[in-house]
Assembly symmetry: C2
Homo-oligomer: 229 residues x 2
């Protein structure tokens, strides 16, 4: 029976959640069949059975997982004969470090593209998204958008270690992509799916890496509506 992945749906079939992309890529890495169940922010009843309040939610037979890290760990443990996501316990430990580091990049990215996310949220979700985010950040989406250059230095600082490692090897995880790459790719794909902001120029090693990531699994990352690279 195919896995079932409940994932975020925006306007015009946009699939922008960075955490859902981690799960998508991890499932593809394992070569497993999957049925995507698109859910709007306000479709929480679709996956209420999971006990979780956000997507991704993975259903694998009777087992249900409500967090992207738990999804990756489940796939690794349940499908040990498929290509490894972590390459062993040390790789898994270090992937956790990447997962805890990524906010240094993804938080300024969130503030940079917040209004773009709103623009591409499903019409049914716009009220919820505006209210919840303006409450969280204490500012209107438009004010955050107007100040987005404030986040540029942190965003650039976040690219530095990624760029440095990709000057030495083709993927974050070495010679081939693994879960650490999917964590980072999720952030770039999030932006690519909703924002006209050019995060990467063509002469950047990160641009080339993102291209390699988009090529994986028969171009899975390119199979959804997005802005040009």
């Amino acid at each position: 029976m195919a896995l079932k992945l409940f994932e975020l749906l925006g306007a015009d079939d946009r699939r922008f959640s960075p955490y859902c992309w981690r799960a998508r890529m991890a499932i593809a890495h394992k070569g497993l069949a999957v049925e995507y169940v698109p859910c709007k922010f306000t479709d929480k009843q679709l996956f209420a059975f999971s006990g979780g309040k956000t997507v991704p939610v993975l259903q694998d037979g009777d087992a249900v997982f409500t967090d992207s890290w738990d999804i990756a760990c489940h796939l690794e443990e349940a499908y040990p004969d498929r290509p490894s996501l972590f390459g062993g316990p040390v790789g898994r430990g270090e992937a956790r470090f990447i997962s805890e580091w990524i906010p240094a990049f993804s938080r300024p990215l969130l503030m940079t593209i917040l209004k773009d996310i709103f623009d591409h949220a499903h019409a049914d979700d716009k009220g919820y998204f505006r209210t919840s985010r303006e409450e969280r950040f204490g500012q209107s989406l438009e004010a955050i958008h107007a100040d987005r250059e404030t986040y540029a230095p942190a965003l650039e600082a976040g690219k530095l270690p990624l760029r440095a490692v990709l000057k030495k090897q083709p993927f974050i995880c070495g010679e081939t992509a693994a879960y650490g790459d999917y964590i980072v790719f999720g952030a770039f794909q999030w932006a690519r799916c909703v924002s006209p902001v050019r995060l990467l120029e063509k002469d950047d090693v990160l641009y080339a890496w993102r291209g390699r990531m988009l090529d994986l699994f028969d171009g899975l990352g390119r199979s959804v509506p997005a802005y040009p690279e």
Copy 2:
């Protein structure tokens, strides 16, 4: 024949180089016998045979390595039957990410403890250290020391992903320490060997982790002169 590790020597037998600590811990992880050859900054003739200008330098029979990353990779490849430093190619790739990320923490740390390093440099090295660092940073050591609080926010930001991961697992690399831990430990041990600055309070998960790191290999990290934890 024992390995020979040329490492940095300060005043009063201080061994503070973070890169030398990576090599020390990696050699101990492999359980290999090693002879330390202490070198002052200005003792470059002692390891000139290596072609390198900085320590650590590792001599393993006829093979010589002049960079801490190359040292780790050599140990992993030459001693595959000993405990693994990387746990495989993915762990090695991700360790490289940690190695490229650590400057986000170690650069503000350097500026915080620069004057303390000078204070603990060997008497023969003080002139060289002052001149080279004041030229590099365009300020006197005393001016940098007076402004050291400037670096506190970046230093604290650097601790965040470390703390987050150590709330979830005992080591950066998971259940047991591996090379990713030694990269980070090098930075903390550098400070501990020369600086009275309290980097970590006792209720910090990072403090507990550093204690576990200092316990490794019969207390190797505690076998050198340092400030109290």
